[in-house]
Symmetry: D3
Subunit: 282 residues, 6 copies
């Protein structure tokens, strides 16, 4: 299993803001009900099968509230855990744990939800398939770093990080340039040589134009199976093929069998059900 | 229709961060393909039935990129719009519109998704019901202000804003205090007199203790219909009843008929499918 | 003595800003006069009787400058200390202590000033009184979290945290609604069920309207003793009574004897004399 | 009357934070009670005699909430206004005005309080006196820019802005250097040539040492009148004299008559009573 | 001439910080010497030949201080201007212009310096050359967005924006993987399909390995002319060639004639002489 | 060797921003090529003679990425090191070191470049000279704290920190006041008594006016040697003389021999070549 990095410096700021959002007015209940020196131990427990993700964020939340809390990561990032499994534990001052519980869970339930959905998409690929599943830029504003990480932890891949990482020519760009060829050559002339040029095509004619113009990647937008099959045939050896647009889990096996190189799915990040993870006190 | 306020000062910072996330490296494609002085007009169009929500955020995103853009809000906040309806429009420099498109949509697709789900929950209430539907604190870290607003726009209500707004005594607090009565009296002694005291109960015995101790609100946690009915009967005139725990749309009518005052559902914010809104260029 | 929590995550940012304000240009004097490896030990000493408050902030300031500094909290938060008492000590690099001295004192002198004033108001309550003293939202912009904490440390209570925590209907709201009854019912229909509804009244007639409309709390605005007495009589068992408006220490005993539940005093935070605390080097 | 500048760029951030502190959870009461399109006009009215200060902040608060609000500054900064005088007005959406009322007043009540106190100290100087009154660094953490401005508006002067603006050698620095002379020469060797060197002295012997070492300013710390008189005599023509330490309004005339050049008073900022300014709706 | 975009949202924050750095303590001189209502007009004038760059930043600085200032951009971005040319003008309150002068110049002198140096590198390319000149990630911490923009304005290109935009395998990565082939295949397996894979090689053997492993780009590190010529021959049609390492202006023509596709030069941003631009008052 | 302080609290924020700029999208290459548990040790090695500077920043960068990294500072701040010298080392997780490498070097290469240039200016002073070399406010926006520190580490001095630290009257101020005398007296009346008054003069006549008006410092703007000599003669014992304007290394010895007290050179910060420092992995 590859190990993925989550740059902690950037996470610290997100955690600080989330804690401020929930705690700037204090925790009325905990301050009233829990003795200041009471100690506790709590376990983050999976309620259902899921893919562990976000241990570093879980730890960061509690450590930001109280550096004396001790977090143990029981499950590895990306590990599949079953119902009832303890994923992580935290122990120390009971007040500190209770004050951070909701924020920690709000973060990791979303991250686990994404990792688990990504995993299911990857698992839906036929045995031996080399097709890769990717996210797109439909991430929660401000949380992209966490969501792209969760996609990787789930075994899928990332698309371009942002508008400055790579070129993706869409219909409006093509229209403004008067055609696919001009759009691609203008992009080639301006974009860093380290960035690939991807061009969205919605017909085989546009595909041919994009291939002729030297697109590195062609995005096959909302095409039916037959068109995808033909597009893959034409692009073979000339450009990477990416199927996109309304991708659902059900369509993954068929698309992969058609031989597309990449299937990109906004659903991985924009329509995720938070995983059910509870914090159980021992 | 009540009109809801979204404090713009706090939104500006969220918008700035989201734009920085997507645009700090520039927009390679747009800079290459679109002339600097090209003008355009685009419409945010609903693909399906939904509840309009987030017009102020939509406008703020585009104005932050380019103060010369003009946004028109066609649909009112909270208005039900059908498939193909134009919700808002933006016009001005084509580059500026394209650079903000994804960020604007990422915000409003989520807000509309929440407002639309809230609407469906509220619509599921029986005719004449006085039961209110509320969110809980299971919001996306950092975006609570937007998500609670969307819940209201959808016709539902908000639960407490954060840990400092009201008291909610849960099992760990009760355990630490040695009982419901002590927990409630300690909370009463400490919390602002402007905050109500809510106590989670998972049995009729705990309910009786909470009522005896003077809880303002009792949270009926994961109770079946019969228990809820009896709890409502016992609490009548003594405390507000709130049904919570694994609430789904399907259960709303029955719970409302049982007479609970409040049904709180984390699903309104933590498991939302982004609404399908496209930005169509004229 | 109850122990109060000060969420450290939110405090860290305030401390960083205050240090930047004083130290962004360096400390000319200390860099010139103190050897880099000189060590020192300094004590925060009370000059006069006061209530200890802000130990966590004192520590945070010095640790932010130099994590190797060691702070010892001699007095407990809320402890009454006499003239000449050492409240906290700090030891380590002399330069680091001198660079943080003024910022640390500026924070804690204000916090101790508030805690001490709050204590004096609480001490002015007659023996056995159940009346509670509270702050209001007249806090220093940006420092509310510290000032409300100091109020609690001094033995008083907090009013609502902010405009989103609870409802407080004032004259302009009443005027806009055309009367107390409408204002209260509109607020009830919109506010979270976890928030109480408070209504400001300036006459017994308004009081009667507020009680009839079901206000949870009535704010008796600037009433004389006789009116307060009658208001308390009418509200008994129906609403919490809060005396407010130009409250001074001198009036506390009389108001408490009249039986009001709450006395709220903006003076606790908006007109505080900083406590005289010095940092004495051993 | 000199006109003082308040750098607006730095103020905008303070205002944004203060608004977030009070409004992140919305304004429950105003949203419920005030129609979205109701308009209003409100006047900031002095309750008592005071010195107008903070008009730019007052305006910035309301404009940050709602750029369509119109603020009129009736009184000039630094103008003495009597009881009942309208200082500024704001008009526009009633909701926006009510949402900003408390934050705006919290800022300006403090600023006016400082300006008014500064004015009273300056007014206490004997006719024709050239002594100047100054603040010191005992300002509210994070608000120094506003408070120093208010001091100037009140007719007094500022001391050094922060630890990097000028040198002020205190007892600990002297002790570390083994004497006044060494401390001053080390400071002279390191500090920018644009900064003056001030040295705190608590006896006439120390004064002589400081003068001999070429201090630009001598801070006469907590000296009685006779000692101050003699110190002024010895320093005449050699160094600026500054009386400091426990300065009260009552002592201003005498100190000025003794001929000190500067009287510095921490009370101007650390122990200010907020001015009573109300926002009256027309 | 292509027109380059500088995302203003991200620039606003840099400008606010720079202004705070210089103006948090006010502008002593201007407040004393310039009347509050004095008006002025000033021109940013080139002292020597240079490439205009940073007009939007120049404007943003002055507008952040005082929205009533009017900036006129006389020269277009990227335009070559001669000694004595007016590049931009600003007019309005004299105080506001003087307060922003230094910050505005500090920004644009650096941006113009970079654009001018980039221009000189591009101009050194032989007639008809298709070699492109690029920056690398050796930018001033925090100002990358401005510096990469200036490189483009000068006619050069950008390399990858940051560590997440594209892959660049260096000696340490190769060593850790045990060889070029493994490093490239691991990177291919992990990186977004939108990112190219670049591999640094310091010998023809490594070059062959990189080509065999399918590198998209080969970075020819510090190679002499003969080696570069041979590397270009071998890579022709298989990978983009990039010459890097100690690139100076003098070597550009020769390298271009050898046929490398890209010459990357850290000097464009890390060792720039600020352009001499003065602000002349009319 | 004096030891200089770099306030770490203010540095932390700069480091966090720089890391976010380079790492928000992760490090594609390192995540792919380096095992998560691989350890490494790397040395920052001088390539050429230079003055060590920025060890605290070097350490802060790596610690912000990974608190488990261990940094050893081999060379002292300000120490002259020769080609091939190890200045600092860092050891720990290889991934963490590689992720921070570029940001750490971008900071310290600039700081060392400044310190080394400052050193060369100071070394150019004739034996026994008491003239001091200073920077001016031509620093990189946002990095002033680091650059002024580097100037000091190089043995030079700082000029005023910002517009609020001291007065510097320039031609526009003089023109607005109608003359040098008025400008100086207005500045004296307004500026803190802790700030010196400097006045720019471009002729001997203006010099005489400035001296007559009591300027503390006269800035001799772009004067030739003969004029400087005469100016120094006239100012002797009356004001500090500062030569400024187009100062180059070559002119330092002559200016110092003319007896000016201060030579201020913007080149120390605005036109610095980054030092060549490499990070060599053992």
């Amino acid at each position: 299993m590859t190990s993925h990095e989550l740059p902690l410096g950037s996470v610290a700021d997100l955690v600080a803001r989330a804690l401020h959002e929930d705690l700037a007015g204090g925790d009325l209940t905990t301050e009233a009900c829990i003795d200041a020196d009471a100690m506790a131990r709590a376990s983050a427990v999976a309620r259902g099968a899921m893919v562990a993700c976000g241990g570093a964020v879980f730890e960061q939340v509690f450590r930001a509230i109280d550096p004396s809390l001790v977090v143990e990561r029981v499950a590895a990032e990306g590990e599949r855990v079953g119902d009832g499994t303890t994923v992580w534990t935290v122990r120390g001052r009971a007040r500190s744990i209770l004050m951070g519980e909701r924020v920690a869970l709000n973060f990791v339930q979303r991250m686990i939800g994404i990792a688990t959905m990504a995993r299911s998409y990857v698992d839906a690929l036929p045995e031996g398939s080399t097709t890769r599943i990717t996210d797109i830029r439909k991430t929660t504003p401000g949380l992209r770093i966490l969501e792209r990480y969760a996609v990787r932890v789930g075994g899928a891949h990332n698309h371009r990080d942002n508008l400055g990482s790579a070129v993706l020519i869409k219909d409006n760009h093509i229209a403004a340039c008067g055609g696919v060829g001009t759009a691609i050559s203008r992009a080639r002339a301006r974009a860093p040589h380290t960035s690939r040029i991807e061009c969205e095509v919605d017909s085989l004619e546009q595909l041919d134009q994009a291939l002729a113009a030297g697109a590195d990647i062609v995005l096959l937008d909302n095409m039916d199976d037959d068109t995808v099959r033909e597009a893959v045939r034409r692009a073979k050896g000339r450009a990477i093929t990416e199927a996109s647009g309304g991708i659902t889990l059900a369509r993954i096996p068929a698309l992969a069998r058609l031989g597309v190189d990449v299937i990109s799915a906004g659903a991985l990040t924009h329509s995720v059900k938070s995983a059910d993870v509870g914090l159980d006190f021992a």
